[in-house]
Amino acid sequence: MFVVEQAFIDRHGKRVLHVPDFVFNTGELVAVIGPNGAGKSTLLQTLSGDLVPVQGRTALNGRPLAEWNINELAQRRAVYTQSDYLTFPFTVGEVVMLGRMPHQHETTQHDVEVVRAALRVTDTTAFTERCYTELSGGERARVRLARALAQVWPNRRKQPHLQQYLLLDEPLAALDLHYQVHMLEMLKARVGPQLGVLIVMHDLGMAARYADRVALVNEGRLVADGPPDIVLTSERLSQHYRLPMQVLRHPELDYPLIAAGSASQNPPAA
């Protein structure tokens, strides 16, 4: 279980995030939403250990993140980032195999099976032998997701009780609608007693539909955290997104639909 308590995060000497109290556990899919520059990625980087709070506490399983052995941490949580630096011509299979690094000294049969499975659930098996750098942006995003999945793929035989976490920073940004739904449903299905998933996302409708919990971040502060039905109200969203927003229900499938009005209807206050 990740616990953040009264954490203040600074970047280049400037306060960028204040998290009064935040918990992230296995068995849940948490969506982190908020306007651009609100601090969503900062929250994710606080959980991944990339950013260390100047004040307050961030801990995994009761131990402060900074005290974790970096490889043991890597066995427990995988991070999907939006950055894509790879320019060397690795094949897709090799890229996903890199996700197994925290678990292996030499590649085992188990690693190969995990990579195959991760490729399968992200629908990237067809690219296995292709060069990663030649794929499209959306295809690359799915391969990076497969790498993160491979990193925290359960090993029922060797570590049957290990709790693992996925921290995903806008994994859906480059995906078409088909894959957005497909990937979210795949992730949702994997959530369980041994896996928690935290996703930074912009699509409020998707967050409302798939998240067990929604954390709303705005202006460097965690302002709301709770079940989608409670956090995602027309009033709250209108206030924080500075747009008239309406929460409707899908006529047949009965999930929330969130519609933004026109910016000219209600000009921003600031």
């Binding site: 630096y85 094949t91 090799e94």
Partner: protein, 349 residues
């Protein structure tokens, strides 16, 4: 990625192509060593070399004994270690900077080391203790590497264009410094200085080689061990950290040990250009970018290249000797141009 390289890689799946390449390179290196020792004014067949090496006291004539043990073996060992070190340092820096064009020569390490060594030759002269030269070369190389890396660092990322430009500037400064030194030098120092800028394995006897051996061997071994985390580093620094790699330590180790190795090599041989660029590139074309195989194969390939270019340097204009740096640059320069043209086509087309 060229069609050829893709096709060459298609036969493998998730497994590593260790298969034939490493044994082939190792056998080629061993045979090359036996043949290359026999090349020179005193010609020896591989079988004769073998018998002299196997029985240091009784095999072959007294003359053969002296030629093999006193002249050619230390030189061969230096060729093997220098080639391995330069190629590995090239592969390491290319991985560290996530750029296939990085090379100890291009980022100023070699010229910084040569400038420092040159200063010792000219300003301290013959009174310098034996250890001063490699130590100075190492210090010069490390300083140059740190300055170039600092200049190119923007926030937490390294700007590749700035890095190469800073390296060019560093090389220009070092070249000017060497020019100034040659202006100040007397005839004897001038000849030694020329040796530095062109590179040669000819200075190596056991006495010079032994102090540098531990550095070179350690540098090779340490860099070989960095292969796995280097693969992760290619994904980005934060990404490597997420995979459990201690990135800051890795970067420090790569910089220190590649510089230490190159500094030690340069202190014995002078500037030998393009080996660090040429070898890892050729290897990657065959194996793909996985450092676990690229590093091993580069170590062998670099040694192989150096053994043969040294044989060429000894025989092409015999009885004189052609500096080895001239040969490697004559091969490496055109290869580099070919690389640029190939990459330009990839960007345009």
């Amino acid at each position: 990625m060229s069609e050829l390289a893709l096709r060459m890689r298609q036969w493998r799946g998730l497994r590593l192509p260790r298969g034939w390449l490493m044994p082939a390179l190792a056998v080629a290196l061993l045979l090359s060593c036996l043949v290359a020792i026999g090349i020179g004014p005193v010609r020896l067949s591989p079988a004769e070399v073998w018998s002299v090496l196997l029985s240091p006291l009784s095999g072959g004539s007294v003359q053969d004994q002296a030629v093999v043990w006193q002249l050619r073996l230390p030189r061969l060992i230096l060729a093997v270690l220098t080639g391995s070190t330069l190629a590995l340092a090239g592969a390491s820096l290319q991985g560290l900077f996530r750029n296939p064009l990085a090379d100890p020569g291009l980022i100023g390490v070699s010229s910084g080391a040569a400038l420092a060594a040159g200063s010792v030759i000219v300003l301290v002269g013959v009174t310098a203790p034996v250890w001063l030269l490699p130590v100075a070369a190492f210090g010069g190389g490390l300083s140059a590497a740190i300055i170039v890396a600092r200049i190119a660092k923007v926030g937490s990322a390294t700007s590749v264009a700035t890095l190469l430009l800073a390296g060019v500037a560093m090389t220009a400064i070092a070249t000017a410094g060497l020019g100034l030194l040659s202006f100040l030098a007397d005839d004897f120092a001038l000849r030694s200085l020329t040796f530095w800028t062109l590179g040669s394995l000819g200075r190596a006897g056991w006495r010079e080689l032994v102090p540098a051996l531990p550095m070179l061997i350690l540098a090779v071994l340490v860099m070989l061990r960095m292969a796995r985390p280097l693969n992760a580093l290619l994904l980005g620094e934060a990404e490597a950290r997420h995979l459990g790699v201690n990135v800051e330590r890795l970067k420090k180790m790569l910089l220190i040990w590649s510089t230490l190795g190159v500094g030690a090599a340069v202190s014995l041989t002078g500037i030998i250009g393009f080996v660090g660029l040429l070898v890892p590139h050729l290897i990657r074309l065959i194996t793909g970018p996985d450092h676990r195989i690229v590093m091993q194969a580069s170590a062998c390939g670099g040694a192989l290249l150096m053994v043969w270019t040294d044989a060429m340097s000894r025989t092409l204009v015999a009885p004189a000797e052609l500096p080895i740096g001239i040969i490697t640059s004559l091969i490496g320069g055109p290869f580099f141009i070919w690389l640029l043209i190939r990459q330009r086509q990839r960007i345009v087309g």
